[in-house]
Symmetry: C2
């Protein structure tokens, strides 16, 4: 079976065309079945392609006149979606002209455009942004939502758990990934009403393709004993950024300590392989590629600051989800469950 091609928003990201095209070329060196639709300024894409002969015959250019800027409001970007590289990449997925879209541009705009063009899947009320975080265990942990929904109710959280588990089954190969809800304590009575209603529902529902283990606190995210962490987009974004910021903080402190004396500087040189190992493990490029789950199509967000290696990893995430038919899997899991049974979990429409 051939893999549908992947649409690349070639204009998004801090460095734009050069890194996006280089990332796609790198992804193709790793997996030569990858094919691309490169969306953006034709002349600039053609120039970037000159140094990547392996992209010849494996990529087509779709000219887009406009670019969504990093600080543009989503509502504003939506109005000119049809002429932007981001909007046209998503539209290619909608038209079946590509199987998935990858963009390193403005997250809010990407979310808004993807939601409007692709619509949420039947049985899912809201899409969620999911990403992989490094852990001390053998597998990364999937966390969602990371910011697509500022406020969520219990029903949203249950749906996120189902989508996260489907994603985790693809990544880990586990039949029943371990799923937990992010909370401020692990006791049953902790947290908001929404969390308690969602936990009860996940505990009581049979037929879910997951092992629901209750709550997890944010200090357990990297422990490696859970596969999926479910949360509302506000808390998820706070947790994700606190993790990123602290990892950078500790690395900065370490660098500073190593520069504190001649002996330490020497120690640093000797320890180079060890600190390089640490850097590799923490490098966000090695965990790049957040995915909007719950849409009728695969849309992957690459970090704005991603290197070519990061972009290649985001492309690999998109290809994997496409190949493993994430959308069909989520649909099947929802069908198994029955719409009625999910509705029972509603908390009278009360918002957090």
């Amino acid at each position: 079976m051939s893999l549908p091609r992947i649409a690349i928003d070639a204009m998004g990201g801090d460095e734009g065309v050069r890194v996006m095209v280089e990332g796609a070329a790198l992804a193709r060196r790793r997996h030569d079945r990858f094919k691309f639709l490169l969306v953006g300024d034709e002349a600039r894409i053609e120039r970037a392609l000159e140094t990547h002969p392996n992209m010849r015959g494996a990529s087509e250019i779709l000219h887009a006149a406009d670019v969504v800027s990093g600080d543009e409001k989503p509502t504003q970007a939506l109005r000119r979606a049809r002429s932007t590289s981001m909007g046209m990449a998503i539209n290619a997925v909608k038209q079946g002209n590509a199987g998935a879209a990858v963009s390193a541009g403005n997250t809010g705009a990407l979310m808004a455009m993807a939601k409007l063009a692709l619509r949420t899947m039947p049985g899912i009320d809201r899409p969620a942004l999911a990403a992989l975080l490094p852990t001390l265990g053998d597998n990364d942990v999937i966390m969602l939502d990371l910011g697509a929904n500022t406020e969520c109710d219990a029903r949203n959280l249950v749906q996120f758990a189902i989508m996260g588990a489907a994603y985790s089954r693809i990544v880990t190969g586990l039949e029943a990934p371990r799923v937990r809800l992010l909370n401020i304590g692990t006791e049953e009575n902790k947290g908001t009403d929404q969390l308690q209603v969602a936990a009860n529902r996940l505990r009581q529902t049979s037929g879910l393709s997951m092992q629901f283990d209750g709550f997890i606190e944010a200090n357990g995210l990297s422990r490696g004993d859970v596969d999926v962490v479910v949360t509302d987009g506000f808390s998820g974004n706070i947790a994700l950024k606190a993790v990123e910021g602290t990892a950078r903080f500790v690395a900065d402190l370490l660098r500073r300590s190593f520069q504190s004396s001649l002996r330490s500087k020497f120690g640093f040189l000797v320890s180079r392989p060890a600190t390089d190992l640490l850097r590799t493990h923490l490098d966000p490029n090695n965990h790049n590629g957040a995915v909007f789950l719950g849409l009728n199509g695969v849309v992957v967000k690459s970090l704005g600051s991603a290197t070519a290696n990061g972009v290649a990893n985001a492309v690999a995430v998109a290809a994997r989800l496409l190949e493993e038919r994430i959308t069909e899997r989520i649909t099947a899991d929802l069908a198994e469950l029955g719409e009625e049974r999910l509705r029972d979990g509603e908390n009278n429409g009360k918002e957090i």
Copy 2:
């Protein structure tokens, strides 16, 4: 002026009496004006005191028959507050028998007991738990609320900002500490209604003893360019624990990397001073002592796992707040502002 004595819940914490008494003795070695009321099992406290001659004449024992356990529900602990070491330590503050209380016990129970016995200050609706986090800058950053209130409205957030700024002025000596609200973006339209209402109020109100700088994302917590970070207790707890967990995660990764080869092991030995510096900077004991702000009295929470050094630091926090009259400072700041002007900031009672 002599410092009022500090009540120590000698039974709280993972290791109980021995560490609490050792911590108090260590605090007294650092500041010999400290005096203590040691609350708990008399026989065990007396035994612990035997090895600390510097505590003689500087401490009195108040016998308490009961102990609040770590997993006890706050409501249950409240019912037997009068006979527990935690409840009696707080009551000593209420009676004027001590100036402040320090406990390493159950946080929820401590909060509930402190709130019931000491009541919130006039002009403050809810107390908040505030702690210091290490940064790359010269000063620690104060973050509040860390879990006392799962849900907060805009009015609560504004009050937390005022209390946090008062605390920061004591710690940093700054006249107008830099205050920000924790959010999932720094643009004005980001986050919940509550955050936007609180931000507008803090931006528009004159006479506040702070420099309000808008929003901060969780990846900026350790940057050192802000003195006070204000948030609801749910997000604050998530952020705090994500920071703690990640710092431990990175330290574990580093240890693992150093053990990966003989060369790395040698490098580790040579780099010892550098990694020790890192460990010292990140050791939670060196930032120990979270305080419940907004009560008619000073109550400090020490980490359950704190060492004697950690307990001594928590005692020092209590003494500092007592000496600098934190409660009077907050009262003065609120008076300056006028109750009416704060009320304007209400968001129609809508909860987050």
